[in-house]
């Protein structure tokens, strides 16, 4: 089904990346309620092809909820989400990987009993086609395994985890596991990567490294990235565009500099001068 020839993703984008202003993802008027609580309140924004978009806001602003809407874990009560012009809300949760959307999780959602290599290989699930019957009959299963194993191994090597490929994920340091999540997400050859607080729990130097990794993979894999992050210095350094949220609403949008100096954002972070 997918072309697994090259080492890096070969994505012939539908839209011309040069013009860069055709949105890859368009979120409009999304509202999510949990019981009586409004987690998202008519949120709209869009992300251009090839951009790194930072989504910021204080705790409880609804960033992770937004994230779970785009990765199809929550259904919004109102609003639409379109990806490359397709209605994303019509796609089931397990279908988004096949569309080219991958994500990482805030609190790590790895497969702890699996080795790092196996974790990444599951990430490549959407890149294979051997189902149960073919696995039993062994039709093409070995070849597919080799292909996915090589591809996953390459990713581990690229993220500097190759030497740990055969170690179970459980018990490894947090920073390592964060990288593993990135490798696993990349295994699906996504064109759009959602990252949920990748820097949370990392030390200072690890955060700097992470920023470089995100920039590097964006180039290497031709990615568009949505980054939900608290670590302002990183967001401001690597984002092309920043969206700031508070109480489920968008309070600011623009370049990092514009958002950083927006009085509403400063108020949201440092508290309003009442």
């Amino acid at each position: 089904m997918a072309n697994l020839g090259g080492a890096a993703g070969t994505i012939e984008s539908v839209n011309n990346t040069d013009s860069g202003n055709v949105p890859l993802l368009e979120v409009s008027d999304v509202t999510v309620r949990f019981g009586g609580i409004i987690a998202l309140d008519g949120l709209s924004f869009s992300i251009d092809q090839g951009a790194i978009c930072g989504l910021i806001g204080p705790n409880g602003a609804g960033k992770t909820t937004m994230f779970n809407v785009v990765s199809r874990i929550y259904d919004p009560n109102e609003g639409t989400v379109s990806f490359q012009g397709r209605d994303l809300l019509a796609v089931p949760a397990h279908g988004i990987a096949h569309l080219g959307i991958a994500r990482t999780f805030q609190n790590l959602a790895l497969f702890p009993t699996m080795t790092l290599l196996e974790n990444v290989m599951v990430g490549a699930h959407s890149q294979g086609s051997v189902g149960m019957w073919r696995a039993i009959a062994r039709i093409g299963a070995a070849r597919e395994n080799r292909r996915i194993r090589d591809w996953s191994g390459d990713l581990l090597n690229q993220l500097g985890l190759g030497h740990l490929a055969h170690v179970p994920a459980a018990g490894l340091p947090f920073g390592t596991l964060k990288r593993l999540e990135i490798a696993r997400a990349l295994a699906a050859r996504p064109r759009f990567l959602l990252m949920d607080e990748p820097a949370a729990g990392l030390t200072h130097s690890e955060v700097d490294e992470l920023g470089d990794v995100v920039l590097r993979i964006r180039g290497d894999f031709d990615l568009t990235v949505l980054l939900v992050e608290h670590h302002m210095s990183m967001v401001m350094r690597i984002s092309d565009k920043v969206v700031a949220m508070e109480f489920g609403r968008k309070i600011s949008e623009g370049t990092p500099d514009q958002v950083r100096n927006d009085p509403k954002v400063i108020a949201a972070y440092l508290g309003a001068e009442a």
């Binding site: 080492a7 990765s71 874990i73 089931p92 949760a93 397990h94 279908g95 988004i96 990987a97 096949h98 991958a102 994500r103 999780f105 959602a109 790895l110 497969f111 702890p112 009993t113 699996m114 290599l117 196996e118 290989m121 599951v122 990430g123 699930h125 959407s126 294979g128 086609s129 051997v130 189902g131 149960m132 073919r134 696995a135 039993i136 009959a137 062994r138 299963a141 597919e144 395994n145 080799r146 996915i148 194993r149 090589d150 591809w151 996953s152 191994g153 390459d154 581990l156 090597n157 190759g162 490929a165 055969h166 696993r184 699906a188």
Partner: protein, 361 residues
């Protein structure tokens, strides 16, 4: 500590050595042992098949099932009915049983999908309790012969397999059932191995470890769970066919047809090692060995589970088994195979080949 590179000559030598040892034992047993011993190995094969099938669902996918005795029974009854009422040749009933059990397994899995954890355990419990009562039901007696069950279901004449030479009489049948059982074990093992080592198998473990993450990676939870349950049921039914062909009888309260059967399968799988390919095989051997040993303890002559439900009194065997189970859960969650792997790693380490396309063959 010995370090051996994966794929090196020494690694291959070890593998070949392992195959030779297993093959030697396999050939030695039916030629040198008494027919009752041979029969015990066949019993172990039957348990291995059932436990391997359960392992797919519980060990690898993390879905609790205590309904596998029903699938075992479906296999046995399908074989018995086809042979007795429709004059089928016994060999073909394996295929029929697998198909029937696959369909039933998928149907059982459907409601089980919407419910998780203990609810799933209870649905499968209900299935295990339902099956024997349904079979006993007088309205179905035309098909199942009610509570007296179906008897003399066996190979009337042992088929001639050129390699084995001519097998005659009781002994010949025991040897034949041994080989037949071995074939089914190997087939079941290969099916499980094929599944586990594939993209589909990785999806199973992913579901066990983290359902949400698995779905995000593109794993379709519904079809995956239903299919694996169906195949597991089909494999389990093969054990039922084998058991019926060996003993020649199947009744609603037969050895592995009631809920007790499910518990035994669970024990075999846990003791050997849940979530490991070889666990159920080791578990089957250990269980049959324990069972025959504990027959001699006290006055009990009905084996490990004989004491259950007052079948026989004053045997500490089941109690010991319960204790063993608790100890295993504390000390070796991956069973004997997991323990052996852990200890074995202190003696021999297979160094895996570096990963990535540049190092590939």
């Amino acid at each position: 500590m010995l370090r051996i590179d994966e794929g090196s000559l020494r690694h291959w030598l070890i593998r070949v050595l392992g195959v030779v040892v297993v093959a030697f034992i396999v050939v030695w047993v039916p030629t040198q042992m008494s027919s009752s011993r041979i029969g015990q190995f066949t019993d172990a094969f039957i348990l291995m098949i059932a436990a391997m099938s359960l392992n797919l669902v519980l060990g690898f996918t993390g879905q609790i099932s205590i309904g596998h005795s029903a699938f075992f029974g479906i296999g046995g009854y399908t074989a018995a009915i086809l042979i007795k009422d429709h004059g089928w040749s016994p060999g073909y009933t394996f295929y029929a049983a697998a198909v029937v059990a696959f369909v039933v397994g998928c149907v059982v899995a459907l409601p089980a999908l919407r419910i998780r954890g203990i609810y799933l355990a209870l649905v499968t419990l209900a299935v295990a309790v339902l099956f024997p009562t349904l079979v006993r039901w007088k309205k179905l007696a035309w098909l199942t012969d009610g509570s007296k069950g179906i008897d003399s279901v066996r190979y009337e004449d042992v088929p001639v397999w050129p390699i084995l030479g001519e097998l005659k009489g009781r002994e010949g049948r025991a040897v034949f059932m041994f080989w037949l059982g071995l074939i089914v074990v190997v087939v079941t093992y290969l099916v499980c191995r094929g599944i586990v080592k594939s993209r589909f198998g990785r999806a199973l473990v992913a579901i066990r470890d983290n359902e949400t993450a698995a779905a995000v990676m593109g794993v379709n939870l519904t079809t995956t769970k239903v299919l694996v349950f169906g195949v597991s049921a089909a494999l389990c039914s093969l054990g039922g066919v084998l058991s019926t062909l060996k003993s020649g009888v199947i009744t609603p309260d037969g050895q592995y047809v009631t809920l007790l059967g499910s518990i035994v399968f669970l024990l075999v799988m846990i003791v050997g090692g849940a979530g490991t390919l070889w666990g159920p095989i080791v578990g089957g051997l250990v269980y049959v060995w324990l069972d025959s040993t504990t027959r001699d303890i006290g006055t009990n002559d009905s084996g490990i589970l004989g004491a259950l439900f007052g079948w026989a009194d004053q045997s500490p065997a089941t109690l010991i088994l319960g204790l063993v189970l608790v100890v295993i859960m504390f000390a070796a969650p991956y069973g004997l195979v997991g323990l052996a792997k852990r200890l074995g790693r202190k003696i021999v380490v297979i160094v895996p080949r570096p990963v990535g396309s540049s190092t590939s063959r």
